[in-house]
Symmetry: D3
Subunit: 279 residues, 6 copies
């Protein structure tokens, strides 16, 4: 299986049946991202999304220092933020819009991925770290994590997802405004208190282990049920309750025909672990 994934800037491993582990692999530069990296990330998650051998995913960063320190500013100032091909402000705007759109799409691949994604943060977790992790489903972190929505410090409003998703991930709009308008650092305790992360671990290694175990738990359930649940929760976030209910009816009108219900009920009665057909 693993042989199908041979990314350049990430490690993709399969620590457990049905669980994939994606690791950002540029530890010497604090896992800072340049364009080729986020494009590759998008491809990886698009593939995981339809890979029948995968039912849940853990995303973490290599090395001890950082999940990611965010955008590689040096690379960005030669790419995204510079545009020598146009002198007209309106034309520059068109190019910038296209670039931001393509960057956003890569980050959104975590959300569009049909399987649950658990992110493990540690060390520097700045800027893009927040964008990526709000596009995931569950966030764990190590005690040494330093978070910041860093963008206003470099003169820009965050543009690959944090400002759109963070207010829907964390139900404390004053806190969201505060950290986004000041770019101040915050730590694991605060992140836990406001609900940005679900669990804090002493060490990164322990956090990764726990995340894989948790992903394993999700992978042990019916994939029809789990993937439907992710989709229905994300849809509901963006729609009225009534549109959520209606969409659920239509979704489940097919999903309820699965044999997994029978399999789950039977193994429940027989007190054994159910197995579910690939999806």
């Amino acid at each position: 299986m693993a042989s199908n994934y041979s990314p350049k800037h990430f490690n993709v491993t399969f620590p457990q049946e049905y669980v994939a582990h994606v690791e950002i692999n540029r530890p010497n530069q604090l896992n800072a991202f340049f364009e080729a990296m986020w494009i590759e990330l998008g491809h990886i998650f698009a593939q995981l999304s339809i890979d029948p051998s995968v039912r849940s995913i853990v995303l973490s960063g290599a090395g001890d220092k950082a999940f990611t320190a965010g955008l590689d500013v040096k690379a960005a100032s030669q790419g995204l933020l510079s545009d020598s091909s146009a002198t007209d402000s309106a034309r520059k705007a068109v190019h910038l819009r296209r670039e931001v759109a393509s960057f956003q799409e890569c980050v959104s691949s975590l959300e569009k991925c049909e399987k649950p994604v658990i992110v493990v943060l540690h060390g520097f977790s700045l800027g893009l770290a927040i964008d990526l992790s709000t596009a995931a489903d569950v966030r764990f972190c190590a005690k040494n994590t330093q978070f910041a929505v860093k963008e206003v410090d470099i003169g820009l409003a965050a543009d690959v997802g944090t400002l759109s998703r963070l207010p829907k991930v964390v139900g404390n709009f004053g806190w969201v405004k505060d950290v986004c308008l000041t770019a101040r650092l915050f730590g694991p305790e605060e992140a836990l208190r406001v609900g940005f992360v679900s669990q804090v671990f002493d060490e990164k290694a322990g956090a990764v282990r726990a995340a894989i175990e948790h992903a394993g738990l999700m992978a042990s359930k019916s994939p029809i049920a789990v993937q439907g649940t992710k989709e229905l929760l994300n849809w509901s976030r963006d729609h009225t309750v009534q549109d959520g209910l209606r969409y659920t009816q239509v979704w489940n009108s097919a999903a309820l025909q699965t044999g997994d219900v029978q399999a789950a009920l039977l193994s429940g009665i027989q007190k054994r672990k159910p197995t579910f057909e690939k999806l």
Copy 2:
């Protein structure tokens, strides 16, 4: 008054002026629901919604063991989840969609009910327990409560409201994802911390007493004001702030003409309890 309600699977009592108490009454089966029960529940709340003698409602479960253990799986596997009348998957889907829709409508009767509904949870509070309580306004629980969004464990995505309402009840999307994707149990402390319940009580009996008292407090206010507040909060949850403000203008253009404002102000000055005309 009480004589008007003679349900089969529930008790409906009036412990206090303007306060109704609905009790799920199938304690020997852990208050598990079958179709006739949720249909009856829908009727009860439709009636309470327009009953001028009722201004607030408490919903709880009979017996010591469970608010409700959820769907009666045995009954369901003979009903909802089996469909012998059709062999065509698309036709089965139509039947399933209709059944889910009708089931959802019964659960939604708590939300549509014009009066505030306080739910008291205790013991097993699984699956449908979460659907029902997210459709209510306020949630209290006893210390012995065991909660779970249990559906993925029986091979399906929850479909009568939890996935649409829970993310709007609790502002911690990572936690919502976690409990819905793993079906894991959680307890009162966790429920309180994330804001799923408002108060935890040592015993079920105390929780019910407190809920009735709290309902009594709501029932002592102007019903025009209280019922308008419930409606405007629910509308606002599903609309932009601007649509919320506009709807509020229109709603209050009639509601502000009530004599209750005068009554409330006067009794405030006179330091006595106001009385309000029936509604």
Copy 3:
């Protein structure tokens, strides 16, 4: 600068470069509002919104007793709530709707203001206090603050913003329902726990100082970045994630062309405080 603002019912001062401080100035009546006051408040915030000398704003109340005790009920019962010009209920409704609309617009001026607004609450902070502070970005308070969504106690559903904004500020819908349906008092600790306020201070004076300092921090950043961040967060609150992402692309296609990015990056490298062109 300050000379341009000479309001009657408020103090407007500039405690620090780029920071404005607006103080409700009717301490002898617990800073209770009558119509001329909220209209003036609307004008002040409209002016601050486009004043290039202002980058962030603190709003607080004069005196020791109250941020504001809310609507001046006596004034209101002679104005908003009485309408002698019409006998026809439908015509009264039209007049009431227009008045509520115009009142709402004044309160919304805090949200529409392009710069961040930090509110400092203390003492009585009832009714309108909640409407105003939910229209702001960040809320601080003193230990002696007594909060209440007081409206149902005077026979009406809150109509100038609380019911539309509070559920989007605080991700605990049960708590929102509870305080809005009962009009009960709650204190700073509870407000902090549910995320309604971000920080609690021993004294009002300390809270104001801290708010000004915090506003100063925001004012030290690129105004293009900060004001874009406020706008994008407010837009995202009311739209789907996808509409948020799209709007962000378009917004930033102009904003990323600012020289502030270069200025911020350079001063970052040179370890000095950046200065940004007026806006």
Copy 4:
């Protein structure tokens, strides 16, 4: 089959396999509606919606003079528009809102009906006639039809659907405004030109015959395909194109599994009329 329907104020017949014909049957009063009638209409369409023997429906009015002259004003002024039980304007408003809501729901039963509904209008087709026909799918009429959105002439804004649906049925908003703001009569030619009706016939009888034939054509197609098409068109009217596309994916993920596709393709090759399993 027909024996299952024995309404008091309507005739329900089955002129052709899978085609139901509902006739408003109060010709001596110009088919004017009172409350019991619209409640019965709601029940009829709820039943037709799930009746496997029905695949399309024609709705017309008995007698020569009118499809319907609208609300029976005399009955209404004793019911809907009079409310002796309340003196408080706000309480009256609550009662009126409930009554309008329940009336709307009956009219909406045509839209919610899973099968296509063709309305045949003739003679007086005033007020409620427009509400009912905009809730249907296709409109035919006789040459003698006199249409009017009559409500402003009796001092009220139309409230059971015309103002919400007509602008989405007819893409000429100036015309919609004109006829709704003036209550002026318009005839078949104008109705055809703006797209309110699809066809005009010399006589009512011919219009009914053609409608039944047209309904028969719809009934000859796969019910999975036809009913899905109605649902997807109505959903799309109220949602963005993207939400329409997404809903279509989910809907068709079950519907495409039907055997009807095979049946339709085969009978196409074999040049014979396909038959489709009941639904």
Copy 5:
């Protein structure tokens, strides 16, 4: 009454009871608009909106040559489109956005005006002419009218309403795209065929007379009914059918309490013209 309106760039007259006639009065410059004009227009319509002596409004242009040739390009290139105060593209963008917003608000005053507005177009009706008339309710024109969505010809996308409103006024999206993407002229016949105008008249004078008469017809109806109808139609354009129905319930819960219903019914029986209390 008329004495209350003394605009500089418009004539405001009262040709008939309850009917106001607003005339753009810069005929020597083809009624081209500069900033002071649209600001004044906004004030006029805000005043008309709440003037109890006004129930409907006609808007036309003075002189023979033009309703309006649009923006006064010379004035605009010194104002809106030039910005010497900022050199930073992002800061220029902020200023441009504010200016466009303020311009849009003036145009939207026609839509926000609570009374129906009939526009009469003649001669050159370019650019802003389309923006203004799509913000109105009904459009009449003279035979000599030359329409164009002219903006792309001067290098910009129309920004004060045409692109947002025209697709909702005219149900022919291909035609809308065509005229907006080519800036080509179109005439009254085409405008009538696609539903952009409701009637075409031989001469401007006749069109104005007919518009005043039509406005008079609207003004003769219950103002509660007419103004409610305008509001409900505009709301419904921007919302789902269900939100339209719900809003209608709430709106009419107050509006149905009007004495106008009784007045209208009685005068109907007595075959005389009803009179309605001022609003």
Copy 6:
């Protein structure tokens, strides 16, 4: 330029500066589509969207017989509609949903293309022909065109765009329902009358010539203005007027900074054809 496009199933030519012509090239099979074709079409339009040498596009079909007869049913029944890899209905549904989604995305590439697309229809224009042309901006056709929303005839609800877009392209919902629910053929005259096509030509060749000329007219305007107009119209179709106005402000805050305005104004004064920088 043309050398960059070498598709297998289409011809891409450049009949005029800035105008691209895409031709469906499978005339012997009535231009029926199989999967590789729609994927290629998606790639072509993605490339055209950002190609600075292209400002407008014409799409037509090769040969005399058909624009396209739709899906190649034989190919589809071996692909999309057959799924041998899954026996579980729920798993089949997941696969079908993914396939429909990917098909929809290809069709949507016409809408997402930043440049205007004119479609020329002729001969058989069935099923997919309608999906494709509603995703374009303007539709021309030849006199011999035979249109049908054919899908219900093969047992399915149209799923790659017609049901979501047709009701927003044509403002006659009754007609849309009729042709979608009956699959009946309709001709150019009817298509023109309801506004589905903008112009009808005697011969296909003339239609193509006229479309290229029309595309040339669009291509002669400022690309900033034209592409902004397409985007703002499509956005407005799916949003409220107010969201449309706001988005327009933000969009134009960058776009108005173009030198094209100056270029267009100057060349207008100098009566010569303006030239605009590439985009």
